[in-house]
């Protein structure tokens, strides 16, 4: 952009970038800061990382979160893949309803779906806890996964499966060697995405955790309410690096996956991520 010609737009952009990145930089820098009150630079240390990694709360939080994220990702994939398989042979009307339900889950504010589930679980006497959180995460995770898998499925030429059958592959072998193989990049990407979304979720987890162990993001929230230490910066940076890495892998897999028989209908995963 020409700064001189668009001084206003340029300064707004600068401010946005500043507000977006400055806190992250501050967190990163402070995670290595020796000074406990973080008023200034007290010298370099990795002490906080050691503290964070040995903090029992953090460790159980991480375990809980990993359990929830893995379970929710797998469940979402099962729903997304079977949904996509059905979607392909469904009537246009049924497809429209199915797609509508997907977008509803994405558009719906998380607070609303979490509250709704909270009251539903109370009503049917379903004990709140890890399972409830997994279900809560799967509500929106499965919608994102479905969009990614479906986009790939739409690009899959049905002639490929006919060709496999023609070459002697049974329906199961055709699914394994052609359909599933073609969907694999989308499945991996959708799985990583779902995992990441679940990994850093706070809202749904807070509503549905009940008396169970607390997931890591909620642990962090509790910690900063109590006191702010550089340890939180260390945890924050680790979580950030972890999720960014996963997301990058997901995007990379999806972007480099070759197009299928049909001309390039590729969903753009970045758009989905921005929408969240």
């Amino acid at each position: 952009m020409n700064v001189r010609r668009h001084p206003f737009a340029a300064s707004v952009s600068l401010l946005v970038l500043l507000f977006l990145w400055l806190p992250l930089i501050v967190v990163a820098v402070n995670s290595f800061n020796q000074q406990t009150i973080m008023a200034g630079w007290g010298g370099f240390t990795t002490h906080w990382y050691g503290l964070a990694l040995h903090d029992q709360n953090v460790r159980t939080g991480l375990e809980t979160t990993l359990y929830i994220a893995v379970a929710s990702a797998l469940l979402s994939l099962a729903i997304a893949v079977s949904g996509a398989l059905w979607w392909r042979r469904a009537s246009p009307k049924a497809r429209a309803v199915y797609d509508g339900l997907i977008y509803a889950r994405i558009i719906l504010p998380e607070v609303v779906s979490a509250t709704a589930l909270f009251f539903l679980f109370l009503k049917i006497h379903f004990t709140l806890g890890l399972t409830a959180i997994v279900i809560g995460h799967t509500v929106w995770n499965s919608a994102y996964a479905a969009i990614i898998v479906q986009a790939r499925m739409a690009g899959l030429d049905p002639a490929l499966e006919e060709a496999a059958a023609d070459l002697g592959a049974t329906p199961w072998r055709t699914f394994r060697r052609v359909t599933f193989a073609a969907l694999l990049p989308a499945i991996i990407a959708a799985g990583l995405l779902a995992f990441t979304f679940s990994f850093d979720d706070v809202v749904t987890s807070v509503f549905l955790q009940g008396a169970s162990n607390t997931p890591l993001p909620v642990v962090i929230l509790g910690m900063i309410r109590f006191r702010i230490t550089p340890e939180i910066n260390a945890i924050g940076l680790l979580v950030m690096l972890f999720t960014v890495t996963l997301m990058s892998i997901a995007v990379l897999i999806y972007a480099t996956a070759g197009s299928l028989g049909r001309s390039g209908r590729r969903g753009n995963m970045l758009d989905i991520y921005r929408g969240r």
Binding site: L160, A163, A164, D166, A169, G258
Partner: protein
Amino acid sequence: MTDAAVDINGVEKRFGDLVAVRNLDLRIEPGEFFSIIGPSGCGKTTTLRMIAGFEDPTAGRISVGGRDMTGVRPYRRPVNTVFQSYALFPHLDVFENVAFGLREAKVGKAEVRTRVDEAVTLVQLQGRERSRPRQLSGGQQQRVALARALVNRPEVLLLDEPLGALDLKLRTDMQTQLKDLQRSVGVTFCYVTHDQGEAFSMSDRVAVMNHGLLEQVGTPEEIYHRPASSFVADFVGTANRFAGRVEGVEADRYAVAIDGIGRRTARGPAGLESGAAVLVLVRPENLVLNGSVGESGGLDANVVDTAFLGAERTVRLHSPKLGELTATARGSGEPPEQGSRVGLSWADDDAWLIPAADAAS
């Protein structure tokens, strides 16, 4: 009598209210290059898909190599298909694409290696085994599709407009290669196309379909020179036609009164009755144009237009007695001038009769 490579018996296929193929009987002989041609929607592709097993006939029976295929799923049939879109597996390289069928058939590793090598050599793609389909040109992809099907040694190879996506030059090359390939491997080919020239240049026999019905089966020469219907005559080339009536049968020829010009002799299918309404068909290349009007029995025409096509020249004519006509002039002689009057004639052997009842449809 040996079993037919493909025997189609009274087959009908409906999609809801639409009848795609009706009452089809067809026999494809072993080792033959057989083509099914017709305009889009004529049922040719549906027929091919029924042989492959992707569609089940609503009625009738299809046998391959003497075995009834009713209820036999595609993966159990001794046929392989070359798809119009090639349908190469994008996530597999050339070698694995070609090896797909062999792996499904649980062929041993060493044999897979030899047979894939053979097939790849056959279609001249040595050195491209590790390429992905998208790295290949259209013609190369087409050859991979061919190798992938042939490597399984099918009893019948089904080809669904395999050259449709290629440009003209490549298409002509591939036609020659396909024909040579078929001769050398000896597999029965069943080839579907809407391009009659393509079918004629490669096939031993051709079937012409229209609106789900089989119009005619025969050698390309038979189909071209002795079409069974007006539709066939038009589909495989241009035809001048004149209405007339059979007046008598003389050996293998008919005497026919042509409206406007009187009695002529023409060949025709056996069994035409005296008095039957017929169409007399003369191909453009058999219409002879003479400089002088008198010597052709008083037939003449005005040259409306000429078009230069390279090896030949198309002449559009208007005759007061016969209406619009098309003639083809060969060679490098002076073309007839636009607007000039020319004499018109044809040899009796070059006139062919079609029952006029058919012409009504």
